[in-house]
Amino acid sequence: MQAKPTSLRALDLVAIAVLIVAAYLALVYAPEEAVMGQVQRVFYFHVATAWTALLGFIAAGVAGVAYLATKDEKWDIVEIAAIEISLVFFLITIVLGSIWARPIWNTWWTWDPRLTTAAVTELIYIAYFMLRQGIEDPGRRARFGAVYTIIGAVSAPITFFAIRLFRTIHPVVIGSGDPSAQGTFAMAPGMKLAFFFALFAFTIIFVDLFWNRILMGRLAARVEQLKLNLMR
């Protein structure tokens, strides 16, 4: 059985620490935004999780291509880990984005390109896991996963541009009467610190979860291999 490497244990602690600091900066240190009030504070975590989820998305695409090229199982494990954590982070992004939108624009959803693309990507991730779940042969499962990851990875940016194009021609936020619903505001220095630290913190948290997930993936692969062997 694998023991967790000490550097990972250390990273776990660092991740918890930076999360606490990021929360403090976002909730206490950053000044209140004048127009939106306290709800604006969710923005720091909203953007940070979006950015890191996007990194995961790209990592998954790369892993998918790498798996098909090398057929090395480690890329499959990396791919699952990236998608799983990206899924959780995008979920947080979407929920926080929705909570932010509600008091400001009086709508739960703004159909803006970034948020909508995040939602579509979330659906692609869920479809990914459903696809994998229905296949028993590990090799086929990994191949199909990689193929779907690639298709998803290419289509999501195209979706983003399509929605953006949709919005340039029809700039109204559907669901709210406010045509300027884009969520921009000027950032005070305290806000900038909270913002950038949140980005940094969530990157660390992502890497920590990612590494842990990869270890678990290796364990799962061994378990499955043993099961298959014993059944022969």
């Binding site: 692609i124 199909f144 193929v147 298709i151």
Partner: protein
């Protein structure tokens, strides 16, 4: 069943034998369907029923009709397309003909393109019938060249990705149920562009507003045809 494509590599250029394989596979499907018509009738009846349901679900009165026709049509085609794709790939799997095709000394992607062409043909035929029926029921003229172009481009994008994903879905435990779940999120750009462009042609919008959508469809079609061509091998490996 069509003749197996014979490959005389020293006498025939590879491109020619590839093309013959594609044609053979397409023809096999079309011929089989011509005899049984099960796929085609299912898709057609389904489409007509969906159009009927939309009549009650949305108030397709004369004013709203203008703005929603494109959407109604594409939703109908998207769902009917799923039926056709599922059926088409299931047949291959159930009859074991997929394995037979894989044994043939032909590039795997020829199988892919053959299936794409036959699936596309079925979808286009269904669309060709639904359009006049819709025009008749709702007194809208749908037989315009711009609209037909969009139907073609959109269907190509849909079927190119759909055939690839259907090949995977059919090999999983959940089979038919899985295809729409896999397909719809990734085919959203096609639906957006097709609906906007179709709507533009129907309302007589300026070309400058429609052109970007056509470009998007072309880009999508090209990119995904290339990707599908490259990855299809991995999807039918044993």
């Amino acid at each position: 069943m069509a003749r197996r494509p014979s490959v005389h590599s020293d006498r025939e250029k590879p491109a020619a034998s590839f093309a013959r394989a594609v044609v053979a596979i397409t023809w096999k499907d079309l011929a089989a369907e011509f005899r049984s018509r099960e796929l085609f009738s299912a898709m057609l009846v389904f489409s007509l029923l969906v159009i009927l349901i939309f009549n009650f679900a949305l108030e397709l009165d004369i004013r709203t009709r203008q703005s929603v026709t494109a959407g109604v049509l594409w939703v109908t085609f998207a769902f009917a397309g799923t039926l056709g794709l599922n059926r088409s790939m299931s047949i291959e799997k159930d009859q074991g003909s997929l394995d037979g095709l894989l044994l043939a000394p032909v590039d795997r992607s020829a199988i892919y393109f053959g299936k794409v062409f036959s699936n596309l043909t079925f979808m286009l035929i269904v669309e060709a019938i639904v359009l006049p029926v819709y025009s008749f029921l709702y007194n809208v003229n749908l037989l315009r060249p711009g609209l037909l172009l969009i139907l073609l481009l959109g269907s190509v994008g849909y079927i190119v990705v759909g055939t690839l994903l259907a090949t995977m879905a059919v090999q999983s435990r959940s089979r038919e149920v899985l295809l729409p779940i896999l397909l719809f999120p990734v085919v959203i750009p096609v639906l957006i562009a097709a609906v906007k462009a179709s709507g533009g042609f129907l309302t007589g919008d300026e070309a400058i507003n429609i052109r970007p959508w056509i470009n998007l469809l072309l880009v999508y079609d090209l990119i995904f045809t290339a990707i599908a061509f490259m990855v299809f091998d991995y999807v039918v490996e044993e």
